[in-house]
């Protein structure tokens, strides 16, 4: 009996048991992961699109010709897709540069930072208060950055922690906030 059938049978058997629910969530996720050929290509495209909807302090961006730096730290789920995706892209007229990091420090010059796996906790700490848009992934079940990818109804969406954005000195456009599945508001 494959995972999907098992999950279905269990649900038919009794939805109420928490253990069963846990199981079908796990098996459902496994099945879904296999059939999501576009999940990471879409996430890669989001990573550079976010730049157009986020405001950095001008001191963080440097002169008009200096690049916006997109960093990826932790186990890399993208492979070559990310390079293809950012190739030739611009953010607000600035070139986009991709950096893959082993460990994150505030001096890396990242503007957008995608964190995975073990890099999440340290990475978030390292740039706390610095003008960096941190991006995490629900696939990790760990701490959350400013933007947190989730998959809803077969689509890549995200949650936004606007309070954390405020702490890092960033503004998030209402357009992006309106696309978020949920928003944790910033304090006034």
């Amino acid at each position: 009996m494959n995972a999907a059938n098992r999950a279905r049978t269990m649900i038919a058997g009794r939805l109420a048991a928490a253990a069963v629910l846990g199981l079908c969530a796990v098996s459902g996720q496994g099945a879904a992961a296999q059939s999501r050929p576009l999940e990471y290509p879409v996430k890669a495209a989001f990573l550079h699109k976010f730049g157009a909807f986020v405001g950095w302090p001008s001191s963080a961006l440097g002169p008009a010709s200096s690049p916006v730096v997109l960093c990826v730290a932790g186990p890399d789920p993208f492979g070559p897709v990310l390079e293809q995706s950012v190739q030739g892209q611009k953010v607000g007229g600035r070139p986009l540069r991709l950096k893959r990091l082993r460990a994150v420090s505030a001096s890396d010059g990242c503007h957008i930072l995608y964190l995975r796996g073990a890099a999440v906790a340290d990475g978030l700490d390292a740039v706390r208060g610095a003008p960096v848009l941190t991006v995490t992934d629900a696939a990790d079940h760990g701490q959350r950055g400013i933007v947190h990818f989730v998959v809803v109804d077969g689509r890549v969406r995200f949650q936004i922690d606007d309070q954390a954005a405020a702490r890092n000195g960033l503004t998030v456009s209402s357009k992006l906030l309106s696309l978020a599945v949920s928003v944790r508001p910033r304090d006034r």
């Binding site: 999950a7 576009l38 999940e39 290509p41 879409v42 897709v81 209402s174 949920s182 928003v183």
Partner: protein, 648 residues
């Protein structure tokens, strides 16, 4: 033609008068891909970079066959109204939100009725060629061929997007998708978690909504209740037109994924009162229940089955009508030899009606009847080369009145670069007769049973591109050849009774263009323009309706829009629209409407991140203005309203 005008207000009027009605019956509509973004594959990850961020958020990543087609590659004229666009427009009803689509002409006739059409033939009697679906459920009436816009309430906060396709969609959607298709798509229940309360009130319309959503393992649910009041419009001298009405609607939606299966169940009930309609008591009550099941079969293959029941009871303006429709459809999508993306399926719809007229002698014979419409279809999207896709398809449809019809289409899309594409299409669509068109009688004056299918062959081409990172443009041109359009014929010798014939024909041609420019991350501009020309005639026929079927269309309409975020908490939205003269036409009973320009302004504040307050002024440039050529003597006044939206 006095009999025509005598019933002009009622549904019977519609019918007869122009013999024409609004979009035609029902039918089937719904079909196949309720979600139109659909279906081009995105084999190439780099092409994702071309999508706007909203499109990206709508790319389905789970199944190959249902991969949403990015708007930039759909070989048709599609405009998408997003949830955010609706919020920032200050619109309080679905037809008002449709004004955002540059490829639609929206004319408000009175507090109850609208005439809405794409590519012309607009008017209360003639706007019968636009198919409208709400979450895959056709709201095109099988009784009178048209959409009762007063019955179509949706909670706009929970609308994901509205896709407006101008041009025929018969191969996928079936009969009556002649001039266009509107798909209203509400949010998946998993995306509407928590409590949302919104209230809008002002000088004309008011709406109050409460929605609560929750989640369970693998799924989500929501339930809402919505109350609304549409204020009375005004007579030309400023007197109250006494046509206001109000209603309440409640509904739910639940979405659930179980491994490779997805299930949606949703429904609504409503009770509108139209007491002030010409001094007679009136109401609209109804409801619907829809279930959709989808199974992914792996490797680009998916099966979808949908069924719904829809019920309406309406008594207004001296006419009672009842309609019960049951609709079931199934489709299977798969990839064959890598280069073919095939969708095939079928559907069956049964509708049973009851119609009573208390204002004059028009009745339906028989008073109550069951009609049906069935279809099968197949469509293949063939990748001819990496840049060239050909989509060919055909639908076979069988209606109880007119028998078989074939609805073929061929569409070609050619990607010129990563940022632009050309497309072209030729398709055939039909509008099938409605119950009223087929069975309405008035002893000695009107006889029934003669009206057949109206036909269209449409030629279209367009270009769409993103010449700059922050600029997107779309231009389409069309040439429509209509045949066998409805006429009102006198019996031989030029005497009564009148019967409905198919003796009119004609051509329309025009362009649709729009663009969107993100000037800065906080400032967005949009513009749209549509122009239309037409030439209609009736063959060997007097057509006592005066060629009403051709509609009353302005030569052009245009809009400009600005969405500005000021600081972190304030939004300023401006929308200017201009519509050329709406003609008197050659049919009797029309008075025309002068060209007009109107300005809408909205100022929004995020009070906290859970609460938003906005002030909206609509139609600010004139104290009142007329939009429709119909002689209701009603004009739309300047209005203001305040809205508060709170979510937790």
């Amino acid at each position: 033609m006095s009999f025509l005008t005598s019933v002009r207000f009622g549904v019977a009027g519609l019918l007869l008068a122009g013999a024409a009605g609004t979009p035609a019956l029902a039918q089937d509509a719904s079909e196949a891909e309720p979600q139109t973004y659909a279906e081009l594959s995105i084999e190439d990850p780099e092409r994702l970079a071309e999508l706007s961020i909203e499109e990206l958020a709508n790319v389905e990543i789970t199944s190959v066959s249902k991969r949403p087609e990015p708007l930039s590659t759909a070989p048709s004229s599609v405009y998408v109204i997003t949830n955010d666009d609706i919020r920032r427009s200050g619109a309080l009803s679905l037809p008002e939100a449709l004004r955002l689509a540059p490829n639609l002409h929206v004319a408000r006739i009175d507090a109850l009725d609208y005439a809405i059409s794409a590519r012309g033939l607009n008017g209360f009697e003639s706007a019968n060629k636009l198919l409208v679906l709400i979450d895959g459920r056709s709201v095109y009436s099988a009784l009178f061929s048209g959409v009762d816009w007063d019955q179509q309430h949706v909670m706009l906060e929970d609308v994901e997007r509205i896709e407006v396709i101008s041009g025929p969609g018969g191969t996928l959607w079936g009969a009556n998708a002649v001039n266009g298709v509107i798909n209203v798509i509400t949010r998946d229940a998993r995306e509407t978690d928590g409590l949302l309360v919104s209230a809008s009130g002002g000088s004309l319309d008011s709406v109050a909504n409460v929605r609560y959503g929750g989640s369970f393992n693998g799924g989500g649910w929501r339930a809402y209740v919505s109350g609304y009041e549409r204020g009375s419009l005004e007579k030309a001298d400023g007197a109250d037109a006494n046509d206001g009405w109000d209603g309440v609607q409640a509904g739910f939606r639940t979405d659930l994924s179980l491994g490779r299966d997805s299930l949606t169940l949703q429904g609504d009930v409503r009770d509108n009162s139209i007491d002030q309609s010409i001094g007679l008591p009136g109401y609209v009550r109804g409801g619907n229940l829809l279930a959709r099941w989808e199974r992914r079969l792996g490797e680009g293959s998916a099966l979808e089955v949908q069924a719904y029941y829809d019920r309406v009871r309406r008594e207004a303006r001296g006419i009672y009508d009842a309609l019960d429709a049951f609709d079931v459809q199934a489709q299977h999508a798969f990839t064959w030899r890598n280069r073919h993306q095939i969708v095939w399926g079928g559907g069956w719809r049964v509708a049973e009606d009851d119609f009573r007229n208390f204002v004059n002698g028009f009745v339906l014979d028989p008073l109550s009847k069951r009609t049906s419409l069935g279809n099968v279809f197949v469509q293949d999207k063939i990748q001819l080369s990496p840049a060239l896709d050909l989509t060919v398809g055909v639908k076979y449809e069988h209606s109880s009145y007119t028998g078989a019809d074939w609805l073929p289409s061929a569409r070609l899309s050619w990607r010129l670069s990563d940022r632009s594409m050309l497309w072209g299409a030729v398709s055939r669509s039909v509008r099938t007769p409605s119950r009223l068109e087929r069975d309405l009688v008035f002893p000695g004056i009107v006889v029934n049973g003669t009206f057949g299918t109206e036909k269209l062959v449409a030629w279209e081409a367009g270009w769409r591109g993103r010449p700059l990172e922050n600029l997107s443009l779309s231009v389409s041109a069309f040439f429509n050849q209509y045949d066998d359009l409805r006429t009102n014929e006198l019996s031989p010798g030029g005497v009564l009774p009148i019967f409905l014939g198919n003796e009119a024909e004609g051509e329309t041609w025009g362009i649709e263009a729009w663009g969107d420019w993100a000037v800065t991350p906080n400032w967005r501009l949009g513009a749209g323009f549509t122009a239309l020309e037409k030439d209609f005639r009736s063959n060997s026929s007097l057509d006592v309706s005066g060629l009403e079927v051709q509609g009353v269309d302005p030569d052009w309409h245009a809009s400009l829009r600005s969405q500005h975020d000021i600081g972190e908490r304030m939004e300023l939205d401006l929308r200017l629209r201009a519509v050329d003269d709406t003609p008197v036409g050659t049919a009797g009973g029309y008075v025309g409407a002068d060209a007009y320009a109107e300005l809408d302004v909205r100022v929004g504040w995020r009070l906290t991140d859970r609460a938003e307050l906005s002030l909206t002024g609509l139609n600010l440039l004139d104290e009142r203005h007329r939009e429709a050529s119909e002689n209701r003597g009603v004009e739309i006044p300047r209005s203001v309203h305040a809205s508060l939206r709170w979510r937790y």
